[in-house]
């Protein structure tokens, strides 16, 4: 079984380590509650 989460474009900044492993086609063993990423909303508002 699998869960897939889809965020809207540019809504989240995924943690770099997770992206880096995935780029190498390497799965990362995680547990419920570990940080996944941060909203980019605040960042976008700051940029504006």
């Amino acid at each position: 079984s699998t869960v897939i989460c889809i965020f809207e474009k540019d809504a989240i900044e995924i943690d770099e380590d997770l992206l880096a492993n995935s780029e190498r086609s390497l799965e990362t063993l995680v547990s419920v509650g570990m940080k996944l990423g941060v909203s980019r909303k605040e960042q976008a508002e700051t940029d504006l």
Partner: protein, 596 residues
């Protein structure tokens, strides 16, 4: 190279042209001789053909048709033969109990100038399903054979004893020929024609021709079918013959190809790359039309010789995990990066299961088998397993299971003691003690968290996920979410995959805080969600499996789609929240359990 050939080598012997125009066959042989000269000293190559890569016309040496005809062995048995070339291996069916097995199994393989060209043929006795023994083998240089001048394409090769290479244990007859490009085109036209030649008269009426153009997926061609039909029907008899179709395809290829997608597998073809299109279509048609008797999808001849083939998931032997997910000699390792300890860890999975999943999910032949009843089989075994795991007797499996996964299941995290669980399924969906899974930045809703104890893959964009991980050709966000969910907001979104393994805590949690807008149930199959299937271009696990889509509306992330996907054995999806609920990140959202 090549040993055991009954024919003497006659490389570079002149074609008997004697000033006359060389025959097509001799021209082909000349071409291969030139290739051999170019290749000599290059050390061959290690290109894999299992996944067709784009090749240039300089690299293209031809498409060879190899047939394993039969053998003469020293004793009676049930025999199978394997053909290995580069990183791919094909196997025949198993013969009758005899000392003169006949297979007549053929396979077309792409030959590249600098690619592998030494084929190894292995013959196994198969008197016991689980243990096939290699009895004899031989090797043959395909470039060498294809350049020989001979009236016959048939070779008789001595089979050598693997434990003593001087001992001959039998003989095998093979046929090896390179396909004349013109014959390839004709054969191609013949096969294309056969798809839509409903009345099997070898000719296409306008309506049959029209269906064919549609199958090619070329919108421009589809709008001018009448013109194309007139152009093809050279003799004006109102039907298009095989020759006329071949001519049309050849002419159109010179101008602009009318074939935009492969009629067999649906892959989009590059109109400007006719060579690779021809290679793709020729090999694809070979598999698609059932003319190919040899089965592929193996990496080595040893794998291809195993007597098990239908373990469709790592879950199938869940109830007998003591033999299923074994750590014995056949165990395979899947490498995973443990985020907590920051090191690579090996996860054990029975090697036979890995290989059989590869054979089933990563080949068209295997997926063909799934189409022929295995889908129902997966559903049926999942339902049966659900019933079994919900029975009181199943509870006696719990201690064995914990013992087997003792490094990965922490008893002290469980909310209830083992005696609390009346069935295995109850244990499977066990809850954890409060605080067993700390929530990162609990009070900050702008920080999203992982939704499950799992193996995670994350991609900035859906496009990245397709490039790096999800290989199913029909995957799309619209397909994943289904028609009842508006997918426009997610089309170029960020995608995170949480894959649960048998030993994991099977409850999933909310990654973000917000309001649950809707749940949509989408019925479907129960393929495995193992990477072997996800990475297969032939299998569309995520868009074909049973799943529930939920949409969470959040202040910090906009809308978030949460898709719970069932898989073989674990096809039951239960949610513990309802539509309209306001949910906090880290809250329990639902669980997967055994069932269909």
């Amino acid at each position: 190279m090549g040993h055991g050939s009954s024919k003497p080598d006659c490389l570079d012997s002149a074609d008997a042209t004697n000033g006359s125009k060389p025959s097509r066959t001799s021209r082909l042989r000349q071409r291969f001789r030139r290739l051999r000269r170019r290749c000599s000293g290059s050390g061959g190559g290690s290109g894999s053909h299992s996944e067709l890569k784009l090749i240039t016309s300089q690299d293209f040496a031809g498409i060879a048709l190899i047939e394993l005809i039969g053998a003469e062995m020293g004793f009676k048995d049930k025999w199978l033969a394997c053909l290995s070339l580069g990183e791919q291996t094909f196997r025949t069916t198993i013969s009758d109990h005899t000392d003169k097995p006949v297979w007549k199994s053929e396979k077309k393989v792409l030959l590249e100038t600098n690619g592998p060209h030494i084929a190894r043929i292995s013959v196994f006795e198969t008197n016991r399903l689980s243990k096939n023994n290699l009895i004899g083998y031989c090797e043959i240089d395909l470039f060498e054979v294809l350049t020989q001048d001979s009236d016959s394409d048939i070779e008789v090769l001595s089979l050598l004893d693997p434990s003593s290479s001087n001992t001959i244990v039998g003989k095998i007859s093979i046929s090896c020929s390179v396909e004349d490009p013109i014959e390839t085109e004709k054969g191609f036209a013949r096969r294309i024609l056969s798809i839509v030649d409903y009345n099997e008269d070898g000719q296409l009426s306008f309506s049959e021709f029209s269906d064919l153009i549609n199958a090619f997926g070329n919108q421009v061609a589809a709008t001018k079918k009448e013109d194309l039909f007139r152009e093809a029907d050279k003799n004006g008899d109102g039907v298009v013959s095989m020759d006329e179709l071949a001519t049309l395809l050849a002419i159109q290829q010179e101008k602009e190809s009318i074939i935009s997608s492969c009629p067999v597998c649906g892959e989009i073809l590059d109109n400007s790359d006719m060579l690779n299109n021809m290679i793709h279509l020729t090999l694809c048609f070979d598999e698609g039309t059932g003319n190919q008797v040899m089965t592929g999808g193996f990496l080595t001849d040893k794998q291809a010789s195993y007597g098990w083939m239908f373990k469709l998931s790592e879950w199938v032997h869940f109830s007998s995990y003591d033999v299923g997910l074994n750590s014995g000699s056949s165990a395979s390792h899947i490498l995973v990066f443990d985020r907590r300890t920051k090191r690579l860890v090996e996860e054990l999975i029975d090697g036979k299961i890995v290989l059989s999943m590869r054979a089933i999910y990563q080949s068209k032949v295997g997926l063909g088998l799934i189409d022929k009843g295995a889908k129902e089989l997966l559903q049926s075994i999942s339902e049966k397993q659900g019933k079994r795991m919900s029975s009181v007797e199943s509870s006696k499996d719990i201690p064995k299971f914990i013992e087997f996964f003792k490094d990965q299941i922490k008893i002290d995290e469980m909310k209830h003691p083992i005696e609390h669980f009346k069935t295995f399924n109850e244990f499977f969906i066990r809850e954890l003690k409060p605080g067993a899974r700390p929530i990162a930045n609990k009070e900050s809703d702008n920080v999203a968290i992982c939704a499950a104890d799992s193996r995670l893959m994350a991609f900035k964009s859906v496009e990245d996920s397709l490039r790096l991980w999800i290989k199913g050709r029909k995957f799309s966000i619209q397909g994943l979410l289904g028609k009842d969910v508006s997918s426009s907001a997610f089309i170029h979104g960020t995608l995170v995959i949480f894959r649960l393994a048998p030993q994991d805590y099977h409850r999933f949690h909310l990654p973000v805080s917000g309001t649950i807008e809707q749940f949509v149930n989408i019925p479907g199959c129960l393929y495995t969600v193992n990477p072997i299937a996800v990475n297969s271009k032939y299998c569309n696990v995520f868009t074909e499996n049973k799943r529930v889509v939920s949409i969470i509306s959040t202040a910090d992330f906009g809308k978030v789609a949460f898709i719970a996907i069932g898989a073989t054995m674990v096809g039951s999806i239960t949610f513990t929240k309802r539509e309209g609920d306001f949910v906090k990140k880290g809250d329990e959202f639902g669980y997967f359990s055994f069932g269909g």
